[in-house]
């Protein structure tokens, strides 16, 4: 499988990339290439020009900044998976990074590239929605911060304007909180049949102060499960509350369509099961802190 011909430019800096994208609106940005290159090989897309930003190493970092963890857009999935800081403070993201594709894909793919591709089945979608992360974007004359809930416009359509580049993803770190991401797949390395990210912040012993639930592969975009979140926030986290919230995620938030991986009914049932498990996994992590 060979893509159509294209021109190739290796970017040397962010500003050069932005200038280039302004003068070449047809150009596509190449980060890790784990979505773009397969698409080009199948000729589903044939951009006439690629700007390779993988050499911009100042966009590859993981750091703590007061009450947030900041991740550079070009940080690779395996760098996220292997980060001790993320495992300790943002384990929901370690969970997701560890189940994306396979080892070879995780060695190339980047968090910014995955988000910009806006695949409704991509694992990070469930995490950024659950965590209320923000996505930082630069354009030639702009610098914007987009809340995760506003980022996924449609299938493969992120809230990016032409010529804009994701630079950083910011995950807030709240006290007495944790999260977990769980994925159901037919076999290791597949796209999710259902993926659920759950974030919980508690107050006192069991009262839920804050909750975030993100669903993957059950709609045109990754879905922020507002009904499930509202069923949790302010409540005492009894079994019944958790079960009701999971049921809301399945029946009211998820919008699955039937395909080879399963019927709508099956996928809703799996959303229910995995939401419940993810919430309990998050709570169990809070208890161990």
């Amino acid at each position: 499988l060979i893509p159509r011909k294209f021109q190739y430019t290796k970017a040397q800096s962010i500003s050069e990339t932005l200038t280039f994208l302004q003068s070449h609106p047809e150009a596509k940005v190449l980060a890790g290439g784990m979505s773009l290159i397969p698409i080009m090989k199948l000729r589903l897309a044939s951009p006439s020009h690629l700007v390779d930003i993988s050499g911009l190493r100042d966009l590859s970092y993981i750091k703590k900044d007061r009450d947030a963890i900041l991740i550079g857009a070009l940080t690779r999935h395996n760098e996220i998976r292997d980060s001790e800081l993320i495992r300790a403070q943002l384990p929901i993201l370690s969970d997701a990074a560890d189940v994306i594709g396979d080892e070879q894909v995780r060695n190339m793919g980047t968090i910014g590239g995955s988000l910009a591709h806006a695949d409704p089945a991509a694992d990070y979608g469930g995490v950024v929605l659950a965590m209320n992360a923000t996505i930082k974007v630069v354009g030639i004359n702009s610098r914007t911060t987009i809340a995760a809930k506003d980022f996924f416009v449609d299938t493969f359509v992120p809230a990016l304007n032409r010529g804009e580049l994701i630079t950083e993803i910011e995950f807030p770190i709240l006290p007495n909180s944790s999260g977990a991401y769980l994925k159901l797949e037919r076999r290791e390395g597949d796209f999710a049949i259902v993926g659920v990210g759950a974030f919980i912040q508690v107050e006192g012993e069991t009262r839920c102060k804050n909750a975030g639930i993100g669903l993957v592969s059950v709609g045109d975009t990754p879905i922020k499960a507002y009904n499930a979140e509202n069923a949790l926030i302010g409540q005492d986290l009894s079994d019944k509350i958790i079960e009701d919230a999971s049921d809301s995620a399945a029946q009211r938030d998820a919008k699955p369509s039937a395909d080879l991986k399963g019927s709508q009914k099956y996928k809703r049932e799996m959303v229910r099961v995995f939401t419940e498990r993810a919430i309990r996994a998050a709570l169990s992590r809070i208890r161990k802190q």
């Binding site: 021109q7 190739y8 290439g33 993988s54 396979d102 080892e103 070879q104 894909v105 060695n107 290791e188």
Partner: protein, 182 residues
């Protein structure tokens, strides 16, 4: 089929020819493969696996599915295993690539992983073997004492259609023991 028919409309064919003329630029790269630097002028769309097999004649790296699934094309890029069918050779400019040909000593002595694969009968047809060995090498470099679960997960991006996984896992364990003693 629909796409090919559409291409033949006059408007599109004109567009396409302009694009081809523009895109005929070749890029000069210097890629280190198995310790030797190769300088070549290549088309941007040349995939690394074709660069290795056809430009350099290193046909030990196989093309299996050509769709980022099977892992037969696995090589190391700066020590990390990647699928060489899913990276353009221009992206590897300045990088160090290791292929299966780079594992044995110059005197022909096999790498401990290659020896273990032989002894454990970790292959039947052998098509997936170069990729399996490169992924095993990346794993053992990163984790010298992997558990069976870790071996299985690390090799999940490499498919063996002869269903020889059990012996492959045995071979990785054996290689790990031997490499740790060295």
């Amino acid at each position: 089929m629909e796409m090919e028919r559409n291409l033949k409309t006059p408007e599109n064919s004109q567009k396409a020819s302009v694009q081809v003329a523009q895109a005929d630029n070749k890029i000069k790269v210097a890629i280190n493969v198995n310790g030797k630097t190769y300088t070549r002028e290549i088309e941007p769309r040349l995939l690394l696996v074709y660069f290795l097999r056809e430009d350099l004649g290193l046909t030990g790296t196989h093309i299996g599915c050509d769709t980022t699934n099977c892992g037969a094309c696995t090589v190391l890029l700066n020590g990390r295993n990647i699928k060489s069918c899913t990276i353009f050779a221009v992206q590897a400019d300045g990088a160090n690539i290791t292929t299966i040909e780079g594992l044995a000593s110059p005197d022909g002595k096999l790498h401990p992983i290659q020896e273990a694969f032989t002894e454990c009968h970790a292959l039947q047809c052998g098509y997936c073997t170069p990729g399996m060995i490169m992924s095993s090498l990346a794993l053992l470099n990163r984790k010298p004492n992997p558990s069976e679960a870790e071996i299985r997960k690390a090799l999940s991006g490499n498919l063996c259609r002869c269903t020889g996984y059990i012996n492959i896992i045995k071979a990785v364990k054996l290689a790990s023991e031997r490499m740790n003693k060295q």
